[in-house]
Symmetry: C2
Subunit: 402 residues, 2 copies
């Protein structure tokens, strides 16, 4: 029987519930006598090659529960995307520290890293079980009904949109909200959950799954504005033209790219400003406002889906159970098996690694500027407790005296 | 004894609790037989001159309670700033509809409007009681310890900042958050409530009460970054240079002004982008991100201070009680009389009308880039329930094998 140490790390963008998965895995791992130490790597894979480890056996249960309820990645994260050489260094350190189980919480890049590392272990005949624990607010992992982090981010953007729509009703105009999501529009689509009354916003929703046409956009906005005297719009940061060029690059002279070669989309208000200026100049409308929801979407302290919370905890627990009882590398996936009910399965890392899932066609309205009832049906049970109430006065109009 | 109708309206920017004040006043007004009808004007004073009224007597208590819990201005609002002629038209309509009590929920502009209208009534020997119900997330009304709407907005920005600080700890860099507040820095200052650990952000806070010096700003940022390897900054949208020029105008070619002659600050990411570019180019730092918290600050559905909620309700109720029992025009004010305890007093409209309260010196750190313990002591009881937990791992570092 294998004995040794377990290592856990967190990669990519933090979420509101990523620490639930961390704590789920840590508490579960501490149950197994075969696991001598439960180590955490600081700042993702970077902390492995730097040998920057903490001993998570020496944590009180109370503090772990407090950390679980805290947004952000408690171990620290990284944007490093390890190549073969980097992965070889990771493997060397794992061996040196007698790591026999390696759990990495992250998106499809993290799954890819695990895949390469476990291949090094296999070739070296070193007994290593590498488990990917899913996490991403983008909801873009293959083989998953949805991914931990997405429901809480969805709850945040739906609540935000419900509020700004009420604000816009009180002081009518055009409002553009830019939502995170480079290739997958799930989070932008989630703004549709803000609607309660038939004329509630968002009235238009633009996703990266469809090409963005400036002229069609302006026509859409004008149509809504003419009908309602106002227009609330949700736009994915990743919207692009027919040549796959991000709309935001039309403005920026200097484009910032990350280690993955991706254009920087978050942390700037450029896209919202570009679209509001377009509406002002081309449609001649006044009171056109734009907000970029930014990092609040994945980090806001205090807005969380209770469903997301418990599922994030469970994928962490299941990762350790799969690792210890099955001894096979793989990626933990969430599968919907009832209404509403999930179970967790381990799939080969290669089925998740480096792949991106986008919104299926049946979730996108044929207009290309809205979502379908099928999408709302899909998302509704994930949001947890009912959203805050958004009621309107129903008092009758007073007859004119004059 | 005076009998007739009561009119209520909402002005200026909506808040998370402005409908509590509306409902507090409406339910209270419906108790008095002297009041024949309780009317609401749609879209503020604009709805008065347009004679666009609803009959709030014909609302169920349940729906009113639902509306009370809803952010935004349920009656609709306006940015109109009535001049003498406009006020004369308001007065004519009030007379025509036999309005004897006029309650206007708003900021110092609304108080000013009421002051002018009540002067018209006095000169015409028309019996009118005009009551200003305070509301503003800016917390900038004279004679008030604080104003309804501010505590909920403060809770929002503190929660947001706690989250983005955790995000920044996980993926270190520089982060700039731009917060609402043209002349008064209270809301930006409220981000300080996000701090729990001694090195939690925001590490720097810039208020409109102090001149903003680019060179000092860069020095401050560099100092924090050198010490912590990261830096989280909160900046008021209203920061200005020594000549009182808003920093944001340094970027914008075309400056948009509202009816009050104010430069448009919200609804654009320009200031955050300007500051992040400054840090990137002048300090050569990477991963510099900026978010403009925007309209979410005053409208987010589901984040509210319970203290704010009940106080907003009470100022509405008290407005009607002052109007009916004292029969004198005035502005309802919140006074702190214990720790923590408030009472409500009616002061002459002229003491609030058109005046702006800013952060007192004892609330601003001598560095000019932080708040004091006195400010945190002032704000703490207003935030309601404890903020969401933000815990850190305390696990010891593992000794290196190599």
């Amino acid at each position: 029987m294998t004995t040794g140490n377990l290592l856990i790390a967190q990669g990519g963008g933090p979420t509101a519930v990523i620490n639930q998965s961390l704590v789920g895995a840590v508490l579960e791992a501490r149950r197994f006598p075969a696991i001598h130490h439960v180590y955490g790597a600081r700042f993702g894979v970077r902390g492995i090659v730097d040998e920057n480890f903490v001993d998570l056996g020496q944590e009180s249960r109370h503090n772990l529960e407090q950390v679980a309820a805290t947004p952000g990645s408690a171990l620290g994260s990284t944007r490093d995307k390890p190549d073969d050489n980097y992965c070889s260094n990771i493997f060397k350190v794992l061996k040196q520290y007698n790591i026999r189980w390696f759990c990495y919480i992250g998106g499809n890049d993290s799954s890819d890293t695990l895949n390469i590392v476990s291949e090094f272990a296999r070739r070296a005949n070193y007994d290593l079980t590498a488990i990917h624990i899913p996490k991403t607010i983008d909801n873009d992992l293959m083989e998953n009904d949805h991914t931990p982090g997405f429901p809480s981010a969805a709850r945040f953007v739906a609540s935000a949109m419900a509020g700004v729509d009420l604000d816009n009703r009180a002081l009518p105009g055009v409002y553009v909200a830019v939502i995170m999501g480079r290739h997958a529009g799930f989070l932008t689509a989630a703004t549709a959950m803000a609607r309660r009354h038939p004329d509630d916003g968002p009235h238009l929703i633009y996703l990266p799954e469809r090409n963005f046409h400036e002229q069609q956009f302006l026509t859409d906005v004008k149509q809504v504005y003419d009908r309602l005297g106002r227009c609330v719009i949700a736009v994915s940061e990743g919207i692009h033209d027919a040549n796959d060029q991000p709309i935001v690059t039309q403005l920026q002279q200097q484009v910032e790219r990350d280690a993955h070669g991706n254009v920087q989309l978050s942390g700037t208000g450029a896209l919202a400003d570009l679209l509001t200026n377009l509406i002002k100049t081309k449609l001649g409308l006044k009171r056109v406002r734009g907000d970029t929801l930014g990092y609040l979407q994945r980090s806001f302290a205090g807005v969380v889906s209770t469903v997301d919370q418990s599922e994030a905890r469970e994928v962490g627990e299941k990762a350790v159970q799969f690792a210890l009882y099955q001894g096979e590398s793989g990626s933990v996936t969430i599968n919907r098996v009832g209404n509403y009910l999930v179970d967790y399965r381990l799939v080969p890392l290669s089925q998740v690694a480096g792949k991106t899932r986008t919104m299926p066609t049946e979730f996108i309205a044929s207009s290309g500027a809205d979502v379908t009832a099928a999408f709302r049906h899909y998302l509704a049970p994930l949001l947890g407790e009912p959203l805050a109430v958004t009621a309107r006065l129903r008092a009758p109009t007073v007859s004119r005296v004059g």
